[in-house]
Symmetry: C2
Subunit: 335 residues, 2 copies
Amino acid sequence: MTSIHDVARAAGVSISTVSYALSGKRRITETTRRKVEDAVRELGYRPHAGARMLAGSQTFILAVTEPLRSYTYAPAHMAFVLAVAGAARRHDYDVLLLTQEEATAGLRRVTSSRLVDGIVVLDVTTDDDRVALVRTLDVPSVVVGVPADTDGLVCVDLDFEAAARLVVDRLADAGHRVVGLLGHPHAVYVQGSNFPPRVRDAFLARAQERGLEARFVMPERDTASARAAVTELLGPDGDCTGLVMHCEESVQTTALDLLRERGLAVPGDVSVVSVASTFDTAALPVPLDVVPLVPERSCDRAVELVMAQLAGGVEPVVELLEPTYVAHGSVGPPP
Amino acid sequence: MTSIHDVARAAGVSISTVSYALSGKRRITETTRRKVEDAVRELGYRPHAGARMLAGSQTFILAVTEPLRSYTYAPAHMAFVLAVAGAARRHDYDVLLLTQEEATAGLRRVTSSRLVDGIVVLDVTTDDDRVALVRTLDVPSVVVGVPADTDGLVCVDLDFEAAARLVVDRLADAGHRVVGLLGHPHAVYVQGSNFPPRVRDAFLARAQERGLEARFVMPERDTASARAAVTELLGPDGDCTGLVMHCEESVQTTALDLLRERGLAVPGDVSVVSVASTFDTAALPVPLDVVPLVPERSCDRAVELVMAQLAGGVEPVVELLEPTYVAHGSVGPPP
DNA sequence: CTGAAAGCGCTTACAG
DNA sequence: CTGAAAGCGCTTACAG
């Protein structure tokens, strides 16, 4: 293995000059810097990670904790993990993946052994052990999502409440009087992620504010349950003309299939909007209006906030990212 | 931060004794060991990761590379990543996640900086850059899957060929004369993972050996495409009575929905088997016989083989794990 | 069975 | 603007 001494020798400088040339932490003559860089390139030098950790007390590793619960929607969660990894790399950081079975123990282990410089907590539940732990850990940490108690935390998340309001408003403005929310499975609301209840509550509250009748159903993931749920939402006399979907892609597909079978046109007979979806709703059987949840947005910001904590003080804060409404022609006036 | 010196002082021994007591690398008196362990516990001591890497030239970190391509089935791939992480932890290893955008560059970086002790390569394609790189890297590596050129590699994988043969045999033995394979989207076969072609080829070959007529279709992921594909497989006169599914859960669900709509009973009218599925086929609308792909099995073995390489010599080998047929009553004689 | 000490490869005050 | 050197916290021969 080629070490910093080899580089120093090849460049004809001292090892401290090599170190500083590489880190940019002190001013170096242009010519010296070039000599060092040439030597680095020629020798294929790469600093020893462990030595850097020990001497510099920086690891350039972030811990990412994502409990892939059985009832979570894998594609979306995977997208968040990958988005964190991507964002981290842009700051020259690698990502250590901590899984469910080891959530809090793992966080303890990697922080107290100084393996990581910071933590990104993904998919927090309302009352999350990892959040309680992170609060005590004194390691730069960012929570993606909003737990019940945000005291002392740095949180980033899409403003799900605003997202829900956006779609309700759009439907109300178009003239719909009865709107229905097709939600996630029941288990998700009970023990799951923090955001489905936030969407539900804001949806119901805004509908009331706008004087709309609102319905809410929580289908399981199977086709039959999804179909029954949509049927229930539409109502026996089909008075519900505005459908909001906050559920998995397959359930949204099933819902659209059912509408088609029933001869209900979108948006001619029923207007449909997807909220907080991570997939491309334009690729559904009917391209759907959407207030998207963009993992990259939340995760880029989360990593930025870890870096900011590393660099200096960041006050505890709950940052809610403003949602955007993307139209694809699936909302119109009621028939 | 409490260091090994603090522990040594508290236990009244030298730091080398602490180190050896913890690593078990040399014989220690029972009483001494206990004194050390007590001190460790009281002080909450955790060895500094960087110092261990530097002094011991072991990092206790494994790199996992998983290119989540857009056309891959996220739940299955996530399951593999998690299975590797779980297996690694059981050997006291952590897992560093390397993503698509950085696949080969990332492997180079983490190995040449001595950040990882070994590599697990997930979801290899037939002709995979990462495999070519890993071969030259001289770091313990295991490939999950079978690339075209396995020379010099340690590969582990389900024996997909045997799995395909198992289901064909089961259908042939039950008396079916025409069988159809519902495959993955076309893109997967062209540029994707290595195993779909293996299933396809073995399926077709075994069908021929058994004197069966065999069909093969590659639906996209949407409902319409899936329905069309099943219709095509069954044939205009419904002569195909044995359906094999090697595709995503949603497509399998759609297929079963279609059969039900057509009034075709399983297995009364059509026998159906799922092959190499990572989800629970017993939870489908009709519980399906399956030759499961169990991520934990492949990944446990993959991690074991990395550990074996770390411990000493392991010859290059392609280990194919024997498939198991799990019956759920979805195969019977043809009508 | 245990200890004193070298050394792993860096970073960063400390000097000049 | 650059260098010599201390020191980060371990592991592991080397002694006894």
